[in-house]
């Protein structure tokens, strides 16, 4: 690593923070003062229409319509590489409420890959029954259903990324119990495209994914359980999304066929400035007719989870516009077969798939500069464990560090 380039990256990042932070802070103050003096009537559009410039531009038509405009930009900087900042998650969107009963959200990302993010309407029949329809996150995993802009760390845990389903188009019933003691979500989704490398062109066309999630919140703790089930077309599944930085598993894919079942358990506990949360996730892919003799193989299991803790050292323990947090997380992601007899192998039709796992420690800090700007720094130590030692080369444990700058309006 060239130290001068690293210094240049850090300097550029610092300049970016200052550039965003100072005017934003001034704007924040001004807006705050305006709101104090004029009670939020900065712009009037007649006929009961009001345009407000609060945290974000907002249009209100009486009590019946509220439309808020959002824009979000974030940049990631690797502190090891010389490639500079990588701009990602440049999104713009609107959300609001129509007639006090229908919430909606439309969000688009400036990207060629899955540009439409959340596009849905959510109608409230009763506090305990709401109906959401459109394209949105499948209710599975606490961290997966948390916005990118509200995460404690720069990246979600590897198990969350790899095991959780992505956004799909579907319909979901959800609601809350009295005093928010419990919350449920139950939905059916149409799988847009195969979740893996398919062998059959028809893939999952028309296949449905069923998902359910129940969360209980006794006091300051919260525990939940979620599952999904969906058909799985014959194809190859691997974990290359996480393991191929070193080319380690680029060829390690396994034939699957049948059903895919996910199970997740989550928990969160908050006490003053301390917040602890964790999840255990497991995905089982059946392998019907996939042995070398066309018989069934035991399930391919991908499992993992994380445990993280966040300590707020500056700012209010609850929602705060300016705050500093420090956090640590341990996470694990691995795969293996349900059966562990026979000789271990990385063959794509092995009955006993040689287990491999990735462990990672992340230490980080989050600085909420103001209501619009957030800066995160993470140091990550990753290691790989091959207990059977049948793989030719396992990368050494390594450190890497990242910085993320976010601007959200």
């Amino acid at each position: 690593m060239n130290s001068s380039n690293r210094a240049r990256n850090v300097a550029c990042a610092g300049a970016f923070i200052v550039t965003l932070a100072v005017p934003a802070g001034v704007l924040a103050q001004t807006t705050s003062e305006e709101q104090t003096t004029s009670k939020g009537t900065s712009t009037h559009d007649g006929e009961g229409g009001v345009f407000r410039m609060g945290n974000s531009p907002s249009l209100r038509l009486g009590n019946q319509v509220r439309i808020d405009l959002h824009a979000r930009v974030q940049a990631d900087v690797s502190l090891q590489e010389e490639s500079g900042a990588a701009w990602g998650n440049r999104r713009i969107g609107v959300d609001g409420v129509l007639f006090k009963r229908v919430e909606f959200q439309i969000e688009r990302e400036f990207s060629d890959v899955e540009p439409w993010r959340d596009v849905f309407a959510d109608a409230r029949v009763h506090r305990a029954l709401r109906i959401r329809a459109g394209h949105f996150k499948v209710p599975f995993s606490m961290e997966r259903t948390t916005s990118d802009f509200d995460l404690d760390f720069i990246s979600r845990a590897a198990a969350v990324i790899d095991i959780s389903p992505r956004r799909e188009t579907g319909i979901m019933l959800h609601g809350r119990g009295p005093r928010r003691f419990f919350k449920y979500e139950f939905g059916v989704f149409r799988l847009a495209e195969p979740p893996l490398k398919p062998l059959v062109e028809s893939g999952t066309d028309g296949a449905m994914l069923t998902a359910a999630r129940f969360t209980f919140t006794p006091g300051t703790a919260s525990i939940g359980v979620a599952f999904t089930e969906s058909p799985l077309p014959e194809g190859l599944h691997g974990l290359s999304g996480h393991f191929d930085d070193d080319g380690l598993l680029s060829s390690e894919d396994f034939y699957v066929n049948g059903r895919r079942r996910r199970l997740g358990v989550e928990g969160r506990w908050t006490a003053g400035r301390l917040s602890i949360k964790g999840e255990l996730l497991r995905q089982a892919d059946s392998r019907k007719g996939e042995s070398v003799s066309n018989s069934d193989l035991s399930d391919l299991i991908v499992d993992g989870g994380y445990l993280s803790g966040v300590w707020r050292i500056v700012g209010s323990p609850r929602r705060s516009r300016r705050a500093v947090d420090v956090a640590a997380r341990f996470e694990r992601l691995g795969f293996h077969s349900a059966a562990q007899s026979d000789a271990p192998s990385v063959g794509s039709r092995a009955e006993y798939i040689a287990p491999l796992r990735q462990d990672a420690w992340t230490f980080g800090g989050t600085w909420l500069v103001n209501r619009w700007v957030k800066v995160q720094v993470n140091a990550i130590r990753e290691s790989f464990v091959d207990e059977t030692r049948i793989r030719p080369e396992i990368p050494q444990a390594r450190w890497r560090s990242l910085m993320r700058l976010q601007f959200a309006m």
Binding site: L199, Y255, E290, S291, V292, S293, N294, D342, A343, P344, S345, V346, G347, S348, R349, A350, E351, A354, R389, I390, R391, P392
Partner: protein, 457 residues
């Protein structure tokens, strides 16, 4: 009586248990005694079973020009090896109907092996209608003291269905180098035929040698370490003055081993070997880890035993290495001696003819039943007749040519000084009869027109 029976009952149980244990031990012993030598025992027509997912087998045959591996289980002699990697192999012999196969025991598991082998080649023998040339030629090379891969025939069953007759060929890798040369740590290269190359010096740029010599061991060595010795070898072959050729090249190449191999190829009428009709072909190049001397290792003998009167000097005038070596009087004499020795080895107790006959009888039924061979049974029988005829006539033809070209002389002195061929465990060499006359050889002087080959695509 009843009491006695009761008393004897436990002893009967013990005896039965002992018998059972003995039988189990016997079976375990028989399985444990299996070695690579048993696998390559060419006195036996072996049976190989491969279990491979039907979709994978279809795909392998459709994409037979690719080198993609597919998982499979291999069974031989009651021993089942799971999770081996299978891929299509070969160059001109690739086929989607009867694919040549490579079985890699370590592809899905580092250190995986079967009977000490990391890989096994299943030759589809597509270019040889007799299907015996490769196996007999390799047997002769080993008999003649040339380090050559072991081979045996096997009937192959894919998912229980007969998939034809194959030759099981020992892979030339570091394990082979250890067994045959006593050096597992040397560099090993497979020669890639890209154009007619006759061993000329290509220049200083190492990249000119890289496409021709593909590393098969020590692949992660630097380009300089891998290819500088090869460049210097060919520089010495081409640029060294005649007077110091033997010493200068001999430092970098085992000249005696090279001449022995060429002499064997001549006896075998090998038209596609180191001295082929279109440059060098079908060999591996091994560089010893301590002496840094290179040695040629033979590969792929589908074109051996092709025509009984194939000229023994064909290709030698163009070939820089052979031409210059034969300009050296002592090497020339050594070479002549090896030629005579090859004739003797082939005719000793009628070995070559008997070996061809034995191989034919061993595989005949399997070939006739082979549902995917690309030629008719009549063509097979006719081609075998050609090989048998060659086995009868070739030694005499070679001997007469040696006498004509070399004056019947040989250098006993140099042959005595040359490195004796390495005696490989489990392989016996033919008894050497008195020199110089070959009693079984017919003396033929008639020379037919040399065989014409089509240009390689």
């Amino acid at each position: 009586m009843t009491l006695m029976s009761d008393l004897h009952a436990p002893s009967r149980v013990i005896r039965a248990a002992c018998l059972l244990a003995f039988l189990l031990l016997l079976r375990a012993g028989s399985v444990g005694a299996q070695t690579a030598s048993t696998l390559f025992d060419d006195r036996v027509l072996h049976t190989l079973q491969i279990a491979i997912h039907s979709r994978d087998w279809d795909r392998l045959r459709i994409t037979y020009l690719e080198n993609d591996y597919y998982p499979a289980d291999l069974t031989w002699n009651g021993i089942r090896v799971t999770n081996v990697g299978v891929r299509s192999r070969g160059r001109t012999s690739r086929s989607g109907v009867k694919p040549g196969l490579e079985i890699d025991f370590a592809h899905y598991s580092t250190g995986g092996q079967f009977l000490g082998l990391q890989a096994l080649v299943l030759d589809n023998m597509l270019l040889d209608k007799s299907m015996i040339r490769e196996r007999v030629a390799m047997a002769f090379l080993r008999r003649f003291g040339v380090p050559a891969p072991r081979e045996s025939f096997a009937t192959l069953f894919i998912n229980g269905q007969y998939a034809g007759l194959y030759a099981m060929v020992e892979e030339v890798d570091s394990g082979f180098a250890q067994r045959a040369l006593g050096d597992a740590n040397g560099a090993l290269f497979e020669y890639r035929w890209l154009r007619p190359y006759y061993g000329e010096y290509l220049g200083d740029d190492l990249d000119l040698y890289r496409p021709l010599f593909e590393p098969r061991a020590r692949e992660y060595d630097s380009v300089f370490n891998l290819y500088d010795p090869i460049r210097e070898l060919f520089r010495a072959i081409n640029d060294t003055p005649a007077g110091s050729f033997r010493d200068a090249v001999g430092l970098r190449l085992d000249l005696a081993a090279m001449l022995r191999l060429v002499a064997a190829d001549v006896l075998l009428a090998e038209a596609d070997g180191i001295v082929s009709f279109a440059g060098m072909n079908n060999f591996y190049l091994h560089r010893h880890s301590t002496t840094q001397r290179h040695q040629f290792l033979p590969w792929d003998k589908d074109f051996a035993l092709f025509q009984w009167n194939y000229q023994i000097t064909d290709g030698t005038s163009q070939h820089a290495l052979i031409r210059r070596a034969l300009e050296d009087p002592e090497l020339r004499s050594l070479y002549a001696g090896f030629l005579v020795e090859a004739v003797e080895s082939a005719t000793d107790a009628g070995w070559l003819e008997q070996e061809v006959q034995r191989a034919y009888e061993q595989i005949r039924e399997a070939v006739l039943a082979d549902p995917v061979k690309p030629y008719t049974n009549e063509e097979f029988e006719a081609e075998v007749a050609v090989v048998i005829d060659l086995a009868r006539r070739r030694p005499a033809f070679v001997l007469s040519e040696v006498q004509r070209l070399f004056g019947g002389r040989e250098s006993r002195t140099l042959r005595a000084q040359a490195d004796p061929p390495r005696q490989v465990e489990g392989e016996s060499r033919g008894r050497r009869p008195p020199l110089p006359q070959c009693r079984r050889c017919e003396s033929r002087t008639t020379i037919d027109a040399p065989v014409q080959f089509e240009a390689r695509q």
